[in-house]
């Protein structure tokens, strides 16, 4: 449909702009991906939960009832309070308090922030490195391909946890404990990225191999455009789907890895606790009856990871209709 | 036309794919018969419904595809409403099928011998050694040298052409009455195509099997088939003896198809092509599905859908051959 010229006295933007907006977005809302989304209540729920958690994390200082970083607000008199609904609980502390008198709900919201920050950073780094490696490997082939893929093989045998543990162990002999604590968050991000880049690299490499022999790449050579440039322009859009799926599922793995490392005590330090750190701290009190300190962060962690996994699973099936 | 018994009869077959926007009709009101010892060619562009028809006959439509109407009869017995288990017994034993790509049709993890004997022993109560002997004979029959040695080899040790021979042996191993060959040579080297087609035809004659040969290649049909059905957008456009259809096509679409075959000795310029492309199944126009591309279109084609009309030895779904509309066009002129 050809948009008709608007008369001069009409507000210049509105109809044409909206129509263009509609034309551009119609494809998406009309498309199969959105359709399968709108038909899956579980996926919508997962999406809502994920989004709610993202926003809670980003706006933590405004969302959380207390600022757990503000040491002045802590009062040891308030320590060990159970959740509001159990006997001895107070309405002020909905999910109770920990051994320092910190509000558990606030600690969880701030913890979510750290967990998501580490998870996202790790996945983005992995996706970047993996995509570049995959492109290079697939495009150049030969020994470059062989070397990259061999590194990937070896990499696969060393899970993120081992890598992080080893780096932390080395750091412990070389740095002061303060420097080590500051350094930890980067170690974790690096370890997560190091264990996750392989999936991205393999997918992008496969797609690159397919595209490499297509005629437009050969044609690009003939007209003097560097074929690698062409590849990037054409391969990247093609692998966006799979990369997005891997990234989503990787985010779940990354969040779990961070929690696990923090639980082992090699993760982010207690001064800046993530969900995993909270569970570890709470675990010491689990058997003496103060279950809320570890169970609530644990539940939050599981819900977050479950929601992200659900989204990833759905995305994979929606983008690959053959599997349905 | 002949006094031979029909082996396969398809009557008003309709195949639907229910999807969220409604029902997609992939095969619409298709009827044909294949007689004993006869090769029926089925041609058409991809998406015309020829493979769907084949899959429907052998009962292997991929869900959600389903037979929504019509009947399929094998030797006069209905097979489209059989239970899955009864239909399984029909497959392989009474109807065999050959697929397009020999490289992917064979299970890579089993020897060809195992795949042959498994098929033989599924349908016939014979001993292992007997089944093996039959398998070796079959391999020899399809022209595989040193079958005693080759029988214990794996598919990857055969070339593409050799693999398609094995596939044919597998389809024929319990002497089915009917073979459905779905693009059996498309994936092969041009140099091998002719051999395979010749082999398929000879073997089916020897084993007394009727053939439904699905292809988009008019050349293959011209060489092999006795009769041909031309499909367009899920329906048969024209059906008749090969010679008549090629020499004297009745449907404008068939004429276009014939015009696009290169003939040795003619100028290349004279190769014609049909304007436009086949409509998607979701957008089949009102009236005759071919009307937007038809060079001889007139009013009625845009409104009414033609059924097959007898024209000489062939039948064509075209209003040009309806006596009533013929008069009308004359009157208009």
């Amino acid at each position: 449909m050809q948009p008709t010229r608007t008369s001069p006295d009409m507000p210049a933007s509105s109809p044409r702009m909206w129509r263009r907006f509609y034309e551009n977005t119609k494809g998406f809302f009309d498309g199969d991906v959105f359709y399968s989304f709108s038909r899956s209540p579980l996926t919508i729920l997962a999406f809502v939960i994920t989004m709610a958690m993202f926003f809670a994390a980003i706006f933590a200082p405004w969302v959380a009832p207390y600022d757990t970083y503000d040491l002045r607000s802590l009062n040891l008199m308030d320590a060990y309070k159970p959740p509001a609904w159990s006997p001895g609980g107070e309405a002020e502390y909905l999910l109770g308090t920990d051994d320092q008198g910190r509000d558990v709900l606030s600690a969880i919201i701030f913890g979510l922030r750290i967990s998501l920050l580490v998870g996202f950073s790790g996945v983005i780094l992995a996706a970047l490195v993996g995509t570049i490696m995959g492109l290079l490997s697939g495009y150049f082939g030969g020994w470059i391909d062989a070397v990259i893929m061999r590194i990937a093989d070896v990499q696969l045998t060393f899970p993120a946890i081992l890598i992080a543990l080893m780096i932390d162990g080395i750091a412990s002999t070389m740095m002061s404990s303060q420097a080590r604590a500051d350094f930890k968050i980067y170690v974790i991000i690096l370890a997560i990225a190091a264990s996750l880049w392989v999936n991205f690299a393999r997918t992008v490499r496969g797609s690159t191999l397919v595209e490499k022999n297509k005629e437009y790449v050969q044609a690009a050579k003939v007209i003097g455009i560097h074929p690698l440039l062409i590849m990037i322009r054409h391969v990247l859009p093609n692998v966006m789907g799979p990369v997005l799926v891997i990234a989503t599922l990787s985010l779940a793995v990354a969040i779990l890895t961070e929690a696990t490392l923090s639980f082992l005590g090699v993760g982010v330090p207690p001064t800046n606790p993530s969900l995993g750190t909270l569970i570890r701290i709470g675990n010491d009190f689990l058997f003496s009856g103060e279950w809320w300190m570890s169970i609530f962060p644990g539940v939050m962690l599981v819900i977050l990871v479950l929601a992200v996994n659900l989204l990833g699973d759905w995305l994979r099936d929606a983008l690959n209709p053959k599997l349905r | 036309m002949s006094n031979k018994k029909p082996v396969l009869e398809v009557r008003n077959l309709r195949v639907e794919f229910p999807n969220r926007r409604g029902n997609l009709v992939a095969v619409d009101d298709v009827s044909f018969t294949v007689n004993e010892g006869e090769v029926l060619g089925v041609v058409g562009e991809s998406g015309a419904g020829k493979s769907m028809t084949g899959s429907a006959v052998i009962g292997l439509l991929e869900p959600p595809g389903r037979i929504a109407g019509g009947e399929v009869l094998l030797d006069g017995e209905r097979i489209d409403n059989l239970s899955p288990e009864a239909m399984r017994r029909v497959r392989g034993k009474r109807i065999g099928m050959v697929f397009q790509d020999p490289l992917t049709s064979l299970n890579p993890l089993y020897t060809v011998g195992r795949q042959l004997t498994e098929t033989i022993q599924t349908h016939q109560n014979v001993s292992d050694s007997q089944a093996r002997k039959q398998a070796i004979d079959l391999l020899a029959e399809v022209g595989i040298p040193a079958p005693e040695k080759r029988i214990d080899q794996y598919p990857h040790q055969f070339s593409g052409g050799m693999r398609q021979r094995v596939v044919i042996a597998l389809a024929l191993c319990v002497n089915p009455r009917m073979i459905i060959a779905d693009e059996p040579t498309t994936a092969l080297d041009v140099s091998i195509q002719a051999q395979i087609i010749k082999l398929l035809k000879r073997l089916c004659e020897d084993h007394g099997a009727a053939v439904m040969l699905i292809t988009h290649d008019m050349g293959v049909i011209a060489e092999t088939a006795d009769r041909v059905a031309v499909m367009y957008a899920g329906r048969i456009a024209e059906i008749g003896p090969v010679k008549d259809v090629i020499k004297n096509a009745k449907h404008p679409y068939t004429k276009g198809l014939m015009g696009s075959i290169p003939v040795v000795g003619h100028d290349l310029e004279r190769l014609s092509q049909i304007e436009g492309s086949m409509p998607r199944l979701t957008e089949i126009p009102r009236g005759c599905a071919f009307n937007p591309r038809c060079p001889e279109v007139f009013d009625r084609c845009r409104v009414e859908r033609p059924d097959l009309i007898d024209v000489g030895t062939s039948r064509a779904a075209c209003w040009l051959h309806d006596p009533a509309s013929a008069k009308k066009t004359e009157a208009a002129e």
Binding site: S172, A259, F263 | F99
Partner: protein, 327 residues
């Protein structure tokens, strides 16, 4: 066949040498061994003497060769913290970890594969949907949380099973095993399930995906067109073809089991290699760390060799060279 094995062995040796190099540099350059042995009060002369006796003044390649020579004989030096030979410490801890990992791997494979096959074949059945939902929760639960919850349920609330350490041990030579007594098993079962659960769900989902993939292939369609029995198609043709990718992943996952055993051992205070390495890391006990690295690499290399050999058994395309001249 021989070519293939030799090639794989060469690769294995190459990987081991690389890891040995990393391990050696850890050992030699990261922690100062002299400082660690003599303490900060030692005089300069004592240090020099120690350097001489330890061979630290030799050229690096000589040191490396010596180090590898020692490592091959199982000699990794002394633990800084415990003052005992690392080899003794490892020998003492190894059985606990190997038993834990082996039992977990068996649980993961023998429960995960059948569940995967079932959900792949009966895609729309009610039970499949339950399996899939449970599996999704399974991969969303971190191992340490599973451990904590199991302890809470079976140890604290129900009081059925012990929640930490090993017990009911029997000695077979130098090998302390928990597999021979009921009490040994009662200690083993919770950690083993904890460790297995994540891998189990992973294997199940993988087998299901592979099964769906294979069921769509042309050779399965052709098998159907030949009227083969459904049973034979599902288990003879389809399952066997899913094995190759499944074996690959399982090989890798057994490696992951070793890493995750660190977590399980921490939660259950299971006295294996995992606890040893966690303590070593916290104290910067480099000899233990570097030897652990070598050991883990060795473990992976062995697993990978076994996986390669299994490929050989399953896939004839590797077993037989392509016939020359055929197409």
């Amino acid at each position: 066949m021989l070519d293939f094995i030799v090639q794989r062995l060469v690769q294995a040796v190459f990987v081991m040498l690389t890891v040995a190099m990393i391990s050696f540099s850890l050992f030699q350059f990261v922690g100062d061994p002299v400082n660690n042995m003599l303490g900060p009060e030692a005089t300069a002369e004592q240090r020099l003497a120690a350097r001489e006796t330890l061979g630290l003044n030799d050229p690096i390649p000589v040191q490396f060769t010596k180090w590898v020579g020692n490592a091959v004989q199982g000699e990794f030096g002394q633990s800084y913290r415990m003052g005992r030979p690392v080899s003794d410490l490892i020998a003492q801890r190894l059985p606990a970890t190997l038993e834990l990992v082996a039992v977990s791997a068996l649980i993961a494979v023998f429960v995960g594969v059948p569940m995967g096959v079932y959900t792949g074949l009966k895609r729309n059945s009610f039970l499949s949907k339950i399996f899939l939902t449970v599996s999704l929760i399974g991969i969303s639960l971190p191992t340490f949380l599973i451990g904590i919850l199991l302890i809470l349920l079976f140890g604290v609330t129900l009081g059925w099973l012990p929640t930490f350490g090993r017990g009911g041990l029997t000695n077979i030579g130098n090998w302390e095993t928990s597999l021979l007594t009921a009490r040994g098993w009662s200690h083993l079962i919770l950690p083993a399930i904890t460790l297995a659960l994540f891998q189990l769900t992973l294997i199940m989902r993988l087998v299901r995906a592979e099964m769906l993939e294979v069921l769509r292939t042309d050779y399965i369609k052709f098998a159907k067109a030949r009227g083969l029995r459904q049973r034979s198609i599902n288990f003879g043709h389809a399952l066997k073809n899913t094995l190759v990718p499944v074996i690959t992943i399982m090989g890798l996952q057994i490696g992951a089991l070793l890493a995750f055993s660190i977590i399980t051992e921490t939660v259950f205070q299971w006295p294996g290699m995992g606890l040893l390495i966690i303590q070593a890391i916290n104290f910067g006990d480099i000899p233990i760390m570097s030897s652990y690295l070598v050991l883990v690499a060795l473990f992976f290399v062995i697993i990978n060799l076994v996986v390669d050999l299994l490929y050989y058994v399953v896939d004839p395309r590797l077993r037989i060279e392509r016939t020359a001249g055929a197409h």
